[in-house]
């Protein structure tokens, strides 16, 4: 990010930026930067809080008034948290669609594929309702069932083929995994009678309690055994987050 600021400013475009990792910005020394203490993935702090987002945005833009640089300022206000953000509350969040008992993880690949289909059928009404009411989905390239089909076909050696002939299998698998996770978040966030999960709640649930998380781990392991370097790299780094 900071390098891009150097390149653009050198070409005559003034820049200001948000910094998520202060240590990086200290080394790169872009012209103007506002360090913020928020989670990676949330540079404006928190969703659905226009006032807070505006405060962050204005703080970054006001650095354009500096007379000289480089300027590295700190935004020290933490992002507003949900009222009860305790570990206990986070542990309490659940989404009652898990047929798979994590203590009895299914090992047979066909059973994993079947469990995924069953799980998605349960989630689909909430996903559909959310999409209709919010007029938006962040599912990008693969509709939920197409994502599941591609990953299942790969796992079962059924010649998976992305619709786009220019898309490699490695890219298709990565994008299908992203879209499947997005489907799960959007559906789970619309389950009746429960607040949307926090990022931490969703991550824990997805990777420890869902058939989808289990199947993606299997896809990841299979990718690692491939001769194709891009599939190997995808399996190693781009499907399952570090630490999960």
């Amino acid at each position: 990010m900071g390098a891009l600021a150097h390149f653009l400013e050198a070409e005559g475009i003034a820049t200001t930026q948000i910094s998520l990792i202060r240590e990086h910005t200290e080394k790169i020394r872009p012209p103007r930067a506002l360090w913020v203490p928020f989670d990676l993935g949330r540079p404006l702090g928190v969703p659905d809080d226009p006032d807070f987002q505006t405060k962050v945005l204005v703080s970054a833009l006001e650095l354009l008034g500096a007379q000289s640089g480089p300027v590295l300022a700190d935004f020290l206000e933490e992002a507003p948290a949900r009222e009860d953000d305790s570990d206990a509350a986070q542990e309490a969040w659940s989404c009652p669609i898990s047929f798979s008992d994590p203590e009895q993880a299914e090992t047979d690949l066909e059973k994993q594929v079947f469990a995924l289909g069953r799980e998605m059928t349960e989630l689909m009404p909430w996903y559909d309702k959310r999409r209709k009411e919010q007029n938006r989905t962040a599912v990008a390239n693969f509709k939920p069932n197409a994502a599941a089909d591609l990953l299942s076909d790969y796992l079962l050696d059924r010649s998976p083929k992305p619709d786009d002939p220019e898309m490699t299998l490695a890219v298709a698998i990565r994008l299908a995994v992203q879209d499947l996770k997005t489907f799960y978040y959007e559906a789970a966030s619309y389950q009746p009678g429960a607040a949307p999960p926090t990022s931490q709640e969703f991550t824990r649930w997805f990777w420890t309690q869902t058939a989808a998380g289990h199947l993606i781990r299997s896809v990841s392991e299979k990718c690692k055994t491939e001769a194709d370097k891009s599939l190997q790299m995808t399996g190693k780094a781009f499907l399952v987050p570090m630490g999960w």
């Binding site: 930026q17 990792i21 989670d39 505006t54 390239n141 978040y185």
Partner: protein
Amino acid sequence: MARLENLAEPMRSHIADLPCPQFDHTPWVDVPELANQRIALISTAGLHRRGDRPFGGMDGDFRVIDGTSQAEDLVMTHISTNFDRTGFQQDWNVVFPIDRLRQLADENRIGSVANFHYSFMGAADPSKMAPSAKNLAGLLKGDNVDAALLIPV
């Protein structure tokens, strides 16, 4: 929180060990008062319009985002799986604060919002972004942009 010391391993070491490019000096462009500036957003979240090419690897190219885009139009195909996406799935402004920027223009706190905005995929090697940035600077000047707000993910 994104304080390096608060990240769990192995993420903390991964981030801490990422190579950072070094520059001999920091360039500087003077700008008019904020209330008179035309602002563009440049994200490194791997954003693009639905239907545009997804980010497929570590290339340093960018995607053009029409300033009239709505939340439903924008998707994310960043290569990393190690940052939160649920914020973006809930509200695009937490990554791409275009509604907030439009609001500032309506209140005359900035001059105007650019017609076009842009996104890179931030995991790309910065040296691969350099030629793209040169092209991008030309596009920004063509849109009469005074300043760009760069937003990581």
